[in-house]
């Protein structure tokens, strides 16, 4: 009885709020048209063909192939290991940054630079440096160690490169979470005699558990859906994403590819459901609205020393990988002729329309980023703070895009929009424009933004917002003046992540891009694939500079306008 009453009250509240209603309706339309619809087109293709009607033959045929079954197990193996490693390293870095007093400012700066670098680079760049450093003709393996037959292609190559690529995402997620933990809780447990390890195990870790689940899930799925790295460094070790791509472009078998894509989707959906229904119960609100104070950093040698060494080792490795890129662009011929030359950089601009490529990529990503950031904050706000019937729908659908490998999403978009929706010509004008690229960028970055938004919002106690509502504020007012400021850091980092993800995106757009737009990543992929490492590196170097610049800008903004830093700095001063 009371339950029914509260539900009907909730419903009444919702309907009396036009801004909220409008937002929800718009969101549902957007998600349906741009995520659900292209996937539905694929789903239909996996069980239906013009000649054969409704059939499960494509699934049967796929599973009959030993290669497909191996691809599944390969994918899962790599995904699980990469998920585990990335989560661990990401947590390590975030913990060191937020909790540990690092010896020198240089070290602190080093950590930040290093953990940002992989975020800002296009995914396949690390595969390139991996081959350039450790391959058969690699600088380290051949020229330093004299090893002639080191094989970087395969399981370990993919695992290492993916871990290096994805751990910074975990790092950024954990950093936001750790900062939101009220130090007084840990201090209380310290005061009562718990050891540092005990505090970490019994207080910090349980608070982080949903976040760890998220991080693992995000990287696991990213790894499964990653296409560029296995393509370059996978050798003959095939994963699902590459198998599907080759099924389309090599064997011209679209129905089979769609069936495989559905299998892949199923795997990621299971991961997602486990996370949602298992981990979600264990969340706890830790930001209670009381003034938080700065954390006492750990200075204990026994803690700082091993952590510092561990981080430094990873840091050095990552730096090494990236130093390779600009040098690759400066040498005449990698591995043979090490005279320095600017000819690759020159060719980028004189021969290959570098300027147009950078301009196009930059503008499209710049449009996509704020939309993505705002959208993901709105979605996470609705999911965490509101109760309405279609909430589950919004959450599931907005996460769904993450589970779809880019190439498959690209095909879905071509199928779905080239002839208009359902081939009726409706919305046909969208196809081939910059707008559809922007939409793909948004759809691709939405899950990451929403994930981190949800994590951040879960930590904010409902009572803060409720008190604003009680004083008569509407939902728009509450969102903009209470919720958003509280998660400003998360919003800003979402903004930059979206920008960076967009400007470095490749797999989803490689089939969608029309000659009217020239994108940097497409160019890099092109040259990397044909073995022109010099030009690929030159493009990549400039791209990294752009993205790294924008991340620095974000850090600057957070420092001066963000929430959590200010408290700390005022107290330290």
């Amino acid at each position: 009885m009371a339950r029914g009453q509260s539900a009907s009250l909730d419903r009444k509240k919702l309907f009396s709020d036009p801004v909220m209603m409008g937002t929800i309706v718009l969101l549902i339309v957007f998600l349906t048209v741009f995520i659900l619809y292209p996937l539905a087109v694929l789903l239909v293709d996996s069980v239906y063909s013009d000649g054969k009607g409704l059939t499960f033959e494509f699934f049967a045929a796929s599973f009959q192939k030993a290669s497909f079954r191996t691809a599944i197990s390969n994918t899962l193996k790599v995904g699980a290991l990469v998920g585990f490693l990335s989560t661990a390293i990401g947590l390590l870095f975030a913990y060191v940054e937020v909790y540990v007093k690092v010896k020198t400012r240089f070290m602190a700066g080093l950590f930040k630079v290093v953990s940002m670098l992989p975020v800002v680079s296009p995914p396949f760049v690390l595969s390139l440096s991996m081959i350039m450093l450790f391959g058969k003709a690699g600088i380290i393996t051949r020229h330093l160690l004299g090893i002639y037959d080191n094989n970087v292609y395969g399981f370990w190559g993919i695992t290492i490169v993916q871990t290096m690529t994805f751990f910074p995402v975990c790092y950024m997620m954990f950093r936001g979470l750790l900062k939101n933990i009220d130090p007084s809780m840990e201090e209380a447990s310290r005061d009562m005699g718990a050891t540092r390890m005990g505090v970490f195990r019994t207080v910090t870790l349980p608070l982080l558990l949903p976040g760890i689940g998220n991080a693992f899930l995000v990287t696991f799925i990213e790894s499964i859906a990653d296409f560029a790295n296995p393509m370059i460094i996978g050798g003959s070790y095939d994963t699902l994403a590459t198998t599907i791509y080759l099924q389309i472009t090599g064997a011209y078998d679209k129905n089979g590819a769609c069936a495989m894509a559905v299998v892949l989707l199923l795997i990621t959906m299971i991961m997602f459901l486990v996370q949602k229904f298992y981990l979600e119960r264990k969340t706890a609100a830790t930001l209670t609205g009381k003034a938080s104070r700065a954390r006492m950093l750990i200075e204990d040698k026994s803690v700082t020393l091993p952590l510092t060494i561990l981080c430094s080792a990873v840091a050095l490795f990552v730096i090494l990988m990236y130093i390779c890129v600009p040098f690759g662009a400066l040498f005449r011929t990698w591995g043979r002729d090490f005279t320095l030359t600017f000819r690759w950089f020159e060719q980028v601009f004189t021969k290959y329309k570098g300027l147009k490529a950078f301009k196009d990529s930059f503008i499209l990503s710049l449009i996509a980023a704020p939309i993505t950031a705002l959208l993901s904050m709105i979605i996470s706000y609705l999911v965490v703070k509101k109760k309405f019937r279609l909430k589950g729908f919004i959450e599931v659908v907005s996460m769904l895009a993450m589970a779809v490998p880019g190439t498959v999403l690209g095909i879905g978009y071509i199928r779905g929009f080239a002839g208009g929706i359902f081939r009726t010509g409706f919305l046909q004008g969208l196809y081939g424009t910059g707008a559809i690229l922007v939409i793909v960028f948004i759809v691709r970055s939405l899950p990451t933004g929403t994930r981190s938004g949800i994590s951040a919002l879960r930590q904010i106690d409902k009572s803060i917002e409720e008190s604003a509502y009680d004083m008569g504020a509407g939902s728009l007012k509450v969102f903009t003046s209470v919720t958003l400021p509280l998660i400003k850091d998360s919003f800003l980092s979402g903004l930059v992540t979206a920008f960076v993800r967009s400007i470095t995106a490749i797999s989803a757009i490689i089939l969608l891009v029309t000659p009217g737009y020239l994108l940097i990543t497409v160019q890099i992929n092109e040259f990397a694939e044909k073995g022109s490492f010099g030009i690929a590196c030159a493009f990549a170097t400039i791209l990294i500079l752009i993205t790294y610049g924008s991340v620095l800008l974000m850090n600057f903004i957070i420092k001066h306008f963000g929430t959590s830093r200010k408290v700390k700095e005022v107290e330290q001063a």
């Binding site: 192939k65 191996t70 058969k136 003959s236 590459t242 090599g250 064997a251 005449r332 043979r336």
Partner: protein, 360 residues
Amino acid sequence: MKKLFAVLLALAMLLACAAAFAEDPVGAPADLIEAAKADGELVVYGSCEEEYLAAVCENFEKLYGIKVTYQRLSTGEVYNKIEEEAGNPSGDVWFGGTTDPYNMAAAAGLLLPYDAANASHLLGDAYKDADGQWYGIYKGILGFMVNTEELERMGLAAPADWKDLLKEEYKGLIWLSNYNTAGTAKLVINTMIQKYGHDEGIQYLVDLDKNIQVYTKSGSGPSKNVGTGECVIGIGFLHDGIYQIVDNGYDNIGLVIPSTGTSYEIGATAIFKGAKHENAAKLWIEYALSPACVELGVKNGSYQFLVIDNAQQPAVATEFGLDPENVMKYDFEDAKQNTAKYIEDVMNALGGGDDRFKTE
């Protein structure tokens, strides 16, 4: 006075027209040029190398003042895109890439037949589709690329012919592209079957398989890995090898033309059915069949042989000992009909393939 001026003006215009016609290096009909200029724009999908594509597009734009936008995609990607777009193509013409996907596109009714005036310059009927759906623009020779330093280090001689590749000493040194994914590898199958007959050809591939270390996804995969030493003997198109030597500076690559003869691919160009700039697209075909277009290849890292009689063959390719005429008679019709079956035969003979064939 006015009259005189008018007459002079008319005369000047006539002269200008004549001059323009005389100067047109493509030799396309004047009315086609006019119509193409009225289109004002052209969108090109290229499956040749980016450098070459950029150069020919810029030259076209310079010659006719028609705005050209272009993009490089692999043949598989272009084919899928155009098929998906089903008669509403986002591009007007397709330039470069082997003829297999062109034939598929023609069979699927995705290409627009066009009777090109410049087709008269083609060296033979093999270089065009019978219905004018596509026209050949270049010819690439299949062969071996070897890393001479690595061979020397191991004290081995370079293989001279197809049969040499079966020698025990090359075990684990040879790279080929994947039969399932690369047009180049499909050409290797057809070549062996046409050369040695069906059963013996397949037996050859089964024997060869024992020596192969990696099957790459793309056809040019082996050539890229020879210079760096990742691969010691690569099977692929020799012009890819020349590119690695001349443009990327890998002077440790040696080219081998199989002594008992080898086969070749034809690169093509075609108009998409439903092209939005049809006249400009037709003009493009005329252009692609003229020296003004194809002679840009050699200046831009594409060293394939040309297939029209009025263009100069790339000197550098000849310097490396390649000869456009020294090829076996390759039966394109047989390849068109039976490739899918041959691939299946090979895969079956290899026992469904092992770890190296993960992409069936």
